[in-house]
Amino acid sequence: MKPYDLSLYSKAVVAILPLSIAIIPWGVLTGALAMQAGLSLVQAQCLSLLVFAGAAQLSGISMMATGVPLVSIYGSTAVISARHLLYSIVFRSHVEQLSLPKRLAVAFVLTDEMFAVSEAHTKRTGAFSLPFALVSGFTFYLVWNLSTLMGILIGNRFGNLESLGLDFAIVATFVAMTFDQLKRVPEVVAVIVSGLSAVLLKPYLSESYIILATLIGMSTGYALSVVGPDKKHHETKVEPEINSEEM
């Protein structure tokens, strides 16, 4: 076995490339907003270096700017990041035999994006690959932090990024990652229910709507997969088949 599998590493980079490109405007926004909120350059960069979670960072920054108490900031962070618990549960079966340093490293870069890309690879090849997860994870980490740095340096010259419509990059990317996986009714319903729940819950539960809508969508999808007409044929897979994420 080769000590350094360059072909695997480049596949990992390519797999996370679309998401990395899409995340650039978000990173720039996060860096710029941190500066506007009054953080120093080092503090703003450390948010991305240490927290490495876009939604949590953006919420945290706006709360710091408005003087929200620390306890509330921590509570919101916990709720917004709660979906990572799901990723941790799924990854457990992949990494439980590995040494502690490897598990610590994988956990550090376990984002929505690395999770999706790694699970796609695992499905396609039939086995989890730690190098694939780490390379895609740290590539994303690098792009996120470089984008944050750009935002910090450019500062407030961008004004309101959302009015430029750069949030559409996230829409396009997540649509691209989910719609090619829809093969059966439970999956389609999970998507519709999750999307609908998120839209309807957001005005009332602006911090927890993501995790709540996710759980509602997952429960609906699961329930249909258990009682539906093709339940005999539904194998218990950790992730649905993905065939277009890899080149």
Binding site: L50, F168, A176, T178, V191, S197, G217
Partner: protein, 104 residues
């Protein structure tokens, strides 16, 4: 204070990511839990993007953020269902988005 916030947020986020990867936890997820979790990626990504395009409204239950968002999203969905590579889906739909935005 800011540093306390940053380090606290980092710890909380990391704990959420690491807790089930820790050896001390004697917990083996069964088949039903794994099937339930198999919907997690589809559900969470949709829960994040949907409110960007669709907005809850008082008069109609759901409004759209704009025709540029709606048209480009529909195109992205169509391209994705047609199994285009994800980078192409992003570039084409984003390109359409900004084009529509410019002319509407």
């Amino acid at each position: 204070m800011v540093w306390l916030t940053i380090f606290g947020m980092a710890c909380i986020t990391y704990i959420n990511r690491f807790v089930f990867l820790a050896n001390g936890i004697k917990y083996k997820p069964g088949d039903r839990l794994k099937r339930f979790l198999s919907f997690s990626s589809l559900a969470v990504l949709t829960a994040i993007w949907a409110p960007i395009v669709f907005v809850a409204d008082e008069r109609l239950p759901i409004a759209i953020a704009g025709w540029d968002y709606l048209i480009a999203t529909v195109v992205a969905i169509a391209l994705s269902l047609a199994r285009f590579h994800s980078l192409l889906v992003v570039l084409l739909s984003a390109g359409l988005f900004f084009t529509v935005r410019l002319y509407l």
